[in-house]
């Protein structure tokens, strides 16, 4: 007779966290107007989830609920910021993000390939813009451009990347 042992709680948590980390990060980022803020909240989220983890509970809805609360706590101080969504919209985005976490994961996987398809200068520019510590105004100055002109270039690159990953995922689905 073979017996199947229950994986230790650490393993269960890590597996579930690993499976959902990308979706949670994208959801948190969708509610916060800056990258740094979403990194801060993700750190708090990892600790909060680890401390409150229970194997019997369904992980994803619970983790999204905790993420929502942390974002809400984070945003309370700036409640009148025009970029802050109301609770109803946050709930809607949470529902959609949970329902479509697989396509988003596929898009994240497709990104590397799409980056390779960009002309080298564009690839270096976009990765430079997202490197930690980069300030857009300084980057624009180094390139002899206005920040507004740089924003516009980055908008176009992002749009091209998004369209590329959408196409790639669609093609994978049809294969």
């Amino acid at each position: 007779m073979t017996t199947r042992s229950v994986p230790p709680l650490n393993d269960q948590f890590l597996r579930l966290y690993a499976e959902n980390e990308g979706a949670l990060h994208a959801f948190v980022r969708s509610l916060l107007p800056t990258r740094d803020e979403s990194s801060d909240v993700m750190q708090d989220l990892a600790v909060a989830l680890w401390q409150g983890f229970e194997s019997a509970r369904e992980f994803r809805p619970w983790a999204f609920g905790v993420a929502r609360n942390l974002v809400r706590m984070h945003l309370r101080r700036r409640a009148r910021d025009r970029h802050v969504f109301d609770d109803q919209l946050v709930q809607r985005l949470a529902d959609l993000a949970q329902a479509e976490s697989e396509p988003r994961a596929a898009e994240r996987r497709a990104l590397e390939c799409c980056l390779q398809k960009l002309p080298q200068a564009q690839r270096e520019l976009v990765l430079g813009a997202y490197a930690r510590g980069t300030r857009i105004d300084e980057l624009a100055q180094r390139r002899g451009q206005t920040p507004m002109a740089l924003y516009k270039i980055l908008h176009r690159i992002r749009q091209a990347l998004l369209e590329c990953v959408q196409r790639t995922v669609l093609r994978e689905q049809n294969v």
Partner: protein, 469 residues
């Protein structure tokens, strides 16, 4: 004209929308799923680009990495395979070490709760901020009066009623040190845990109230749902459901009591067992005094008993209390004893200087030492003398209790209830009980507060009182 959603979404994610654009986007996100999906796709792209640009691996990628010398097997197999534990441990270390380092660098603890609302709240000194909207990391809140609502990161809400003291421990855990709280726990926060001195309450999605004193007498009242009660004595868990109550002592959970719409607090859990016997330091041969080190000659008081322990030598004070136990009516089945003290500002030192004061109470065991006279006392001739202001000679005295005066607090009633105190009262052979109070932790900064306790000659406050019931 249809706006360019790609442009608008990107500007929103960069925090660069105008008021009108933000409003338009938010309305559309509610109504049009395609735009909401595009918005989430861009947020997803942001996160993925950031990871690519900084070569940061997600936890999943770390877990999926091939261990050296093992190149076979599908992704799924590797992920769930036998090496998972090892890689999981390594990944756990990486993720949390990174989080801890960033938090350390940013100089902050993870935020785990928030003060949502407070009404007529008067806070005692706390290790956490108390303003409405404050984000809380791990620490202690002390509410003297009024109510305050705290929301934990996992969604549980706790309404704290003054006077209460609660420690915020984790996103789904708090510790009620004394006082009362009512918890509302939505399904997502199931498992919310309230620790009390004698029991742990684990919530299973419910509303419940709990009151406790610092010694561990508590009552739990489930308004709706289910609560699991684990007593510190290790007894099997007790499940309480809607409209059930339980009373807890430090020793055990008392037999289930019927629901009462006006739950009583633990202090008055049984009205028949009111304090039936008490004396003060003014009763019979009672006495209350303090002794001070030589350098304190000018800073004295005739109405309050002074207590201090600081690093700089020469400014220590200890309090001595004598109770005439022969005046205490006998209660053969007494189970509890209490020492009650009234604090009053001494006028010396600053309340903001130093930490919480940890006060230890000792009972003198040498009968000959009980006959001290307040006028003849000196630093070196006091009973159970130890040269340190924070200690007594433990060959002549035993510890019978302790309490903490929070930083900044100079007034209020402080109670020591301890079985060791009851035992000393019951076994004292000459029926004179001398108690010595010392501040154990020294004040390490200049100008620290001298605590004042109302003595026998205080114009309004009662002197130290001993109660047995």
């Amino acid at each position: 004209m249809t706006p360019d959603w790609h442009d608008l979404i990107q500007r929103h994610l960069a925090g660069a929308c105008t008021q009108e654009e933000c409003e338009l986007l938010q309305t559309t996100l509610m109504k049009e799923e395609a735009v909401a999906r595009l918005y989430l796709q861009y947020a997803n792209l942001e996160v993925a680009l950031e990871a690519q640009a900084n070569s940061t691996q997600s936890l999943r990628e770390i877990l999926l990495q091939e261990p050296a010398g093992n190149s076979s097997g599908s992704t799924t197999r590797r992920f769930f395979g036998g090496n998972f534990g090892r890689w999981a441990a390594a990944a756990l270390f990486l993720v949390f070490a990174a989080a801890a380092f960033r938090q350390f660098r940013a100089g902050r603890e993870p935020r785990i709760a928030e003060v949502v609302e407070s009404q007529s709240a008067q806070w005692a000194s706390c290790s956490l901020p108390t303003e409405q909207g404050s984000l809380l990391s791990k620490g202690t809140l002390r509410l003297n009066e009024g109510i305050a609502r705290i929301r934990f990161a996992q969604g549980a809400e706790v309404t704290l009623e003054g006077p209460s003291e609660v420690a915020v421990e984790a996103p789904n855990v708090c510790r009620l040190i004394r006082g009362s709280l009512v918890a509302h726990v939505p399904p997502a926060a199931r498992g919310f845990t309230v620790q009390t001195p004698s029991a742990t309450l684990i919530d299973h999605g419910t509303d419940f109230g709990v009151s406790t004193d610092s010694a561990g007498h508590a009552s739990v009242h489930v308004m709706q749902g289910e609560v699991e009660l684990l007593h510190a004595n290790g007894a099997p868990p007790l499940r309480l459901t809607t409209r059930q109550m339980a009373s807890i002592t430090p020793e055990k959970v008392l037999p289930q009591i019927p629901f009462h719409p006006e739950p009583r607090r633990p202090e008055t859990a049984d009205p028949a067992r009111i304090f039936t016997s008490e004396i003060t330091t003014r009763t019979g041969r009672g006495e209350a005094a303090y002794v001070s080190e030589p350098r304190t000659a000018n800073n004295q008081s005739s109405t309050v008993l002074l207590l201090k322990h600081c690093l700089e030598q020469g400014y220590g004070r200890k309090v001595l209390l004598r109770f005439d136990l022969s005046a205490l009516p006998k209660i053969p089945d007494a189970t509890r004893a209490r020492l009650t003290l009234n604090l009053d500002p001494s006028g010396y030192g600053y309340a903001s200087q130093g930490d919480d004061a940890r006060i230890a109470v000792y009972a003198v065991t040498r009968d000959e030492s009980d006959t001290w006279s307040a006028d003849a006392l000196s630093w070196s001739t006091q009973p159970a003398f130890d040269p340190s202001a924070g200690k007594v000679n433990t060959s002549e005295a035993v510890r019978v209790g302790e309490f903490t005066v929070p930083r900044g607090v100079q007034t209020g009633v402080f109670v020591v209830e301890d079985p060791r105190l009851l035992q000393q009262i019951q076994t004292d052979s000459n029926r004179l009980l001398t108690l010595i109070l010392v501040r154990e932790n020294p004040i390490t900064v200049e100008g620290g507060l001298v605590l004042g306790i109302a003595g026998n000659r205080h114009p309004t406050l009662s002197p130290p009182r001993l109660s047995v019931y």
